[in-house]
Symmetry: C2
Subunit: 589 residues, 2 copies
C-alpha cells in the first residue's frame, strides 16, 4: 500500500527520492500515523503538524552525524518512522516496541531521553559546544514548539545560543498553540511576525542575536526544505520560524486543537473517541467543581496553571467563566510559584495546580519565593505516585523534593473528604505555604477524621487501634495499609494499628512516642513514591535510638520506563502479601 514508505529504512534512503516522491512520502506517513494513532492514541496534533519538517530535516541533514534534537519529543513519530523503527507504526504487534519520546536506548538517532518541555535549546547549545571543543564540524539542529518558548530554560538557551557563536539551527514550530492556547507577551510578537511574513522589525529572535528565516507554510515540504538548505552548515545561530497547522491533514484535529493535543483511540472516520469514560468522579473534576464554587463567592481566589489547565479540571468552558480569576502562565512552572507567592502576599487566595513531574521545575521558587516568605498559597500536586508512564514523566519524586523545605506544609489526604477539608483550610488560612498531594485519579470516599486546621505540629489520625505493628499509610497508600491490616488480622490474628499520617512533611512526635508504650514492636511506612529522602526515612530517624523496628516501603530510586504498575509493586515489595511477609520476618523475634 505505502509505495514510497516501503523503501525507507534509514534517512539515507530519502536522499535518492525526487521531490514529488518526498511529498508523497509525507502523505503516506500521515495516513499511516493516523491509522496507528486511531488504534493506540497518542500526541495527535503535534505529530501531524511536523511530518513535512521532519522529513525535510532528515532529507537535508545527515543524521546521526548531524544532530537533531526534539524538544519535549512528543512530536518524534515521523523521526522514528524514518530511523529504522517503521514497523512500530505499521505492525500492531510491534506498536509497543517504541515509546512516545526520543530515547537513546532505542536508536542512535535519538540523542536524549526527553519529555519535559523547553530543554532542547540548552541541550543543543551543549551539543554544539561539545562539537566545537572537539574540533568537529557537523550541524546541530533543534525542533522547538512555540508553546515551549514560554519556559525559562528555553529563554536561557536562546540567550546563550548567540554567545556561542557557531553552528546552531533552531526550527521553531509555530502552530499558535501550546497544549491549550498560548499565553504571554512573546506570542504577540510571534503573531506580528506571522502577519508580516517575518518582516516586522521588532523580532524577538533577532533581539536574542539569531539570524532569522521565515517559513510561511511549514507543512509545504519544499518551502521548509529550502529554508533548511539555506541554514545548513551556517557558522552562527539561525532561527527558522516555521508556521504549521496543529493536527494538519485531519479535520477533527484541526478543528479542536486542544482536545486533539493528546487523544486516546478514536474512530478515524468520525473522529469520535473510543475510550469509554466510565462515570467516575476524578480529583480533577472534583477540584474544578469546588474551586469554581468558591471563586464565584470570592473574587480574590485565583486559580493558576502552567500550560495544563485540564490538570486542574478547568476545561475551556469553565475557563471562560473566570477571565480574571483563572490564569494560564504558559509552560512556566517556576514563574507560577513566584506568581502565587506574590498574589498571596498581596492578600489574594491563589491555587496552583501542577503535575508531580513538573513540580520538579520549581524547587528554588518553592524555597526562596514561597517558603522563605511564608506566602499562604496552595499548590495541588496531581499525578503523583507510581505509574506505568514514561521515565520522563515520573511522579515519584515530589515528596523528597517538597517535604524537606522549611516552612512548607506538605499534606497527603487519603480520600475526597479529607482532600476537600485540607484544600478549604489551605485556601482560607493566611500563614503557611501549603502543598497538597492529590491522592490518585479516581476519587475514593472514607469517613476520615477531619481537622479544623492543618498547621504544625503534625497530628496523625489513628484509624484503628491495635498492637504489635503500627501501619502508617500515607495518602493514596492508606488504602494499601488497610489491606495489609486486614490480611494480618484475618490470616495471622495480628491486630495492627492503622494510622493516616496526613502530613508528608512532618512527624507527630507525641503519637510516635505513644506507640512505643502500647506494645508495638514495629512501625511500617507506606508511601507512593521513592523512599529516598521521603516520608518513611523521617520515621526511621525518629525511632533510630529506640528499640522500635521500622520498615519503609515505597518505590526504588530509579527511572522507570513504561513498566506495568503491578510489576513495579511486585518489584518494590508493595503487594499486601509481600508486606505482610516482611512484617512477620521483623516481628518474629
Amino acid at each position: 500500500m505505502c509505495k514510497v514508505l516501503d523503501k525507507i529504512n534509514t534517512p539515507k534512503d530519502l536522499k535518492v527520492l525526487s521531490k514529488n516522491e518526498l511529498v508523497q512520502l509525507c502523505e503516506e506517513i500521515r495516513q499511516q500515523m493516523l491509522l496507528r494513532l486511531s488504534m493506540t492514541g497518542g500526541h495527535v496534533g503535534s505529530n501531524l503538524a511536523v511530518i513535512e519538517a521532519t522529513v525535510a530535516l532528515h532529507y537535508v541533514f545527515n543524521a546521526p552525524l548531524d544532530k537533531i534534537i526534539f524538544d519535549v519529543s512528543h512530536q518524534c513519530y515521523t523521526h522514528k518512522l524514518l530511523t529504522g523503527r517503521k514497523e512500530a507504526y505499521i505492525d500492531p504487534a510491534k506498536f509497543s516496541s517504541v515509546s512516545g519520546f526520543t530515547n537513546p536506548a532505542e536508536s542512535e538517532y535519538d540523542i536524549f531521553s526527553i519529555g519535559h518541555t523547553s530543554t532542547a535549546v540548552s541541550l543543543a547549545c551543549g551539543m554544539a559546544k561539545g562539537r566545537d571543543v572537539k574540533g568537529e564540524r557537523h550541524n546541530v539542529a533543534a525542533l522547538v514548539g512555540d508553546g515551549a518558548l514560554s519556559g525559562g530554560e528555553a529563554f536561557e538557551g536562546l540567550n546563550n545560543a548567540a554567545a556561542l557563536g557557531s553552528n546552531l539551527i533552531l526550527v521553531v514550530n509555530d502552530n499558535d498553540m501550546s497544549i491549550a492556547e498560548n499565553h504571554g507577551g512573546l506570542y504577540q510578537n510571534l503573531r506580528l511576525l506571522r502577519e508580516s511574513d517575518g518582516k516586522a522589525s521588532c523580532n524577538i529572535f533577532r533581539a536574542f542575536g539569531f539570524d532569522y528565516i521565515f517559513v510561511r507554510d511549514g507543512n509545504d515540504f519544499n518551502e521548509i526544505t529550502d529554508a533548511l538548505e539555506k541554514a545548513k552548515n551556517t557558522d552562527h545561530p539561525v532561527v527558522i520560524h516555521m508556521c504549521t497547522v496543529k493536527g494538519k491533514g485531519y479535520l477533527p484535529a484541526e478543528l479542536d486543537r486542544e482536545n486533539w493535543h493528546y487523544m486516546g483511540p478514536f474512530d478515524i472516520d468520525t473522529g469520535k473517541s473510543k475510550s469509554k469514560t466510565a462515570p467516575v468522579e476524578t480529583y480533577e473534576a472534583l477540584t474544578a467543581a469546588y474551586l469554581a464554587g468558591e471563586m464565584r463567592k470570592d473574587p480574590t481566589i485565583t486559580a493558576v496553571t502552567a500550560g495544563t489547565p485540564k490538570v486542574l479540571g478547568f476545561e475551556e468552558e469553565l475557563r471562560k467563566q473566570f477571565p480574571k480569576q483563572f490564569v494560564d502562565v504558559g509552560i512556566a512552572e517556576g514563574h507560577a510559584v513566584a506568581f502565587v507567592s506574590g498574589i498571596a502576599k498581596a492578600g489574594g487566595k491563589p491555587v496552583f495546580g501542577v503535575s508531580s513531574s513538573f513540580l520538579q521545575r520549581t524547587y528554588d521558587q518553592l524555597s526562596s519565593d514561597l517558603a522563605l516568605n511564608h506566602s499562604p498559597a496552595v499548590i495541588l500536586v496531581f499525578f503523583a505516585g507510581i505509574a506505568e508512564g514514561s521515565q520522563t514523566h515520573m511522579g515519584s519524586f515530589d515528596i523528597p523534593l517538597a517535604s524537606n523545605i522549611p516552612g512548607i506544609i506538605y499534606l497527603a489526604p487519603t480520600c475526597r473528604e479529607e482532600y476537600l477539608g485540607m484544600l478549604e483550610w489551605g485556601l482560607y488560612q493566611t500563614e503557611h505555604p501549603v502543598i497538597i498531594r492529590v491522592p490518585g485519579v479516581e476519587t475514593v470516599s472514607r469517613d476520615a477524621a477531619l481537622l479544623s486546621e492543618y498547621g504544625y505540629p503534625a497530628k496523625y489520625e489513628i484509624v484503628e487501634h491495635g498492637t504489635t505493628v503500627a501501619i502508617l499509610g500515607l495518602g493514596k497508600f492508606f488504602a494499601l495499609g488497610k489491606r495489609v491490616r486486614e490480611k494480618l488480622e484475618a490470616e495471622y490474628g495480628i491486630h495492627a494499628t492503622l494510622i493516616n499520617p496526613r502530613y508528608a512533611s512532618a512527624v507527630d512526635d507525641k503519637m510516635l512516642n505513644a506507640l512505643s508504650g502500647y506494645g508495638h514492636k514495629a512501625v511500617i511506612t507506606l508511601e507512593d513514591g521513592v523512599i529516598d529522602g521521603g516520608f518513611g526515612e523521617k520515621i526511621a530517624r525518629f525511632y533510630g535510638t529506640s528499640s522500635m523496628k521500622v520498615l519503609n516501603f515505597g518505590a526504588g530510586k530509579e527511572f522507570v520506563n513504561h513498566v506495568n504498575v503491578k510489576e513495579q509493586y511486585f518489584r518494590y515489595h508493595l503487594t499486601p502479601e509481600q508486606i505482610v511477609s516482611d512484617i512477620l520476618e521483623v516481628i518474629k523475634d
Copy 2:
C-alpha cells in the same frame, strides 16, 4: 553633617524637598554609604549605582501603599536608609541591625525576603494580580538589574507581564555588568538600545509586549524622576530602561567593577582592601589551578559558570587564557546543567561550578537533562554547609536536593587530596553524572585512602577500627567525627570506629552490615546540612529493622538569618561535647 539626610525618616519626608535638595540628598547618601561600606564591606557597585533611582522611586511613588520590589535586593541600601533604618548606616553600633537584603521582618516597606536573582518580575506580576483581584489601585514597581535578565524566571516573568494587562512598572537598571561581565544575545540588544538612545526598532522589551521608556542617565535624578512620573499610574506594563554606572561616584569601584561588586572593608581614600588575605589555600584556587592544568592538556575540558566565575576560582586573567574552554552562561543555572549535559553527550568533558544555594535552581535539569541521560558531567558544589550568612543564601539543602535523584553520584570528599582524586575521576570517566560537595573554603590535608573509581556500589573508608560506636563523618564533618572519636577515647576510654562515607548519595551495605557484627551498638552520622531528606536518614532506614541504634546529627530544618556558626552548632547539638553526651545516653543500656 548630613543636612538633608537629617530630615529624612520616612519616604514622606522626601515629598516636601526641592529638586535641588533631592539631588543633594543623593550625594549625602552616597558619602554616608561609602563611609559605612568602607568599615563593614558590602555590595558596593550595585548600591552606588541606584541611589538616584531609589530616591526617585520613593519620591514619585507612595510606599508602602505602592509596592516597590528589589530583585536580588543586594542593592537595597538606599531604600533602607529612606525607610526608617537610617541609623543602621550612620551609627556603627547599629550597623548589624539591618541585613543586606530586603526582609519583611525588618520593615513594612520590605515586601519579600529576597536574595536569589531574577525573581522580582514574577513576584511583581503576582503582587499586581493580587491587587487586581482585590480591586485595589496602587502601583507595583520592580527594580531589576541587567544581569538578572539572563535568568529563566525573569524571562518567564517578562513573558507573563504583558498578558497581565495592568499596572506594572519594571525599572531595568542597565549598568552593563552582571557580577562579572554579561554574557548572552540579550546583551547585544541592550547595547543596541543604549547606543540608539532607546530608538532601535528591534527592542526585546517591546517584543515581550511592554511599553518602553529610555533613560540615558539613570544617575541623573531629574531624568529618572521624569521617567517614573510618566510611568506612574499606567494601566499596562512599562519598562523603564535606565543606564547607570556600577560603582557610581567612587572611582576605584567605577574602574574595577567586577572586584567592587562585593568588597570587604577598605581604605576610603585609596580604595585598598583592609581584609588581610591570609596565605591559605582555598578550594576555589585549588580547583582553578587543577582545572587550568588539565584544560591546557585537553582542549575538550570545558569549565562552566553561571555568572559567578570566581566561585570556580577563575579570575579575569585566567578566563582570558581559555576563551573557548571557559564559558559563563550568565545567571542561568538551569541552562548550565542542560548545557554540560549536552557537552558531555557530544564527548566533551564539562565541569560546572556552582554555590550550593544556587544549585537549588537546577533540580529538574539535574533529573531530566542530566541524570536521566547518564551524561558524564561534573558539578562542583561550593559553599555548602552551615554558615553565618543570610537566610536567602543557605547552603544546607543540597544533599536532600541532589542525593535522592536516581543515577547521580553525589560525593563528599573530606580533604584536598580526596577532592582532587574524585574530581580527576569524575572528569575522565564517561558513564555517570557526578556531583562533588566541596568541603569548605580553606583546604585541609589528610592521608585519605583514595579509590581508583567512585562509581556504585558505594565503598566507605574505615579510617579507625574500633568498637561500640561507629562515627560516620560526611565530607567536611569528617573532622568533627575525628574530634568526637578522640574525646570518647580520651575521656571515656571508648575506642570508636571512624568512617569516611565518601558518598552522600548511597549506602555501603556491606560495611554497614559488618559493623553490626563487630560489637557496635550505635552508629552516628554527622552531616553539614539539614538532616531531613539527607544522608543520615538513609543510614537510619538501613538499620531500621536491626537492633543497631542510629543517631543523626546535622542542621535543623529551618531558614537561618545571620546566626553565628558556633551558635548554630550549639543549637543543633553539633559540638563534640554535645555529641559525646548524646552518644553516652544512647549506649548506656
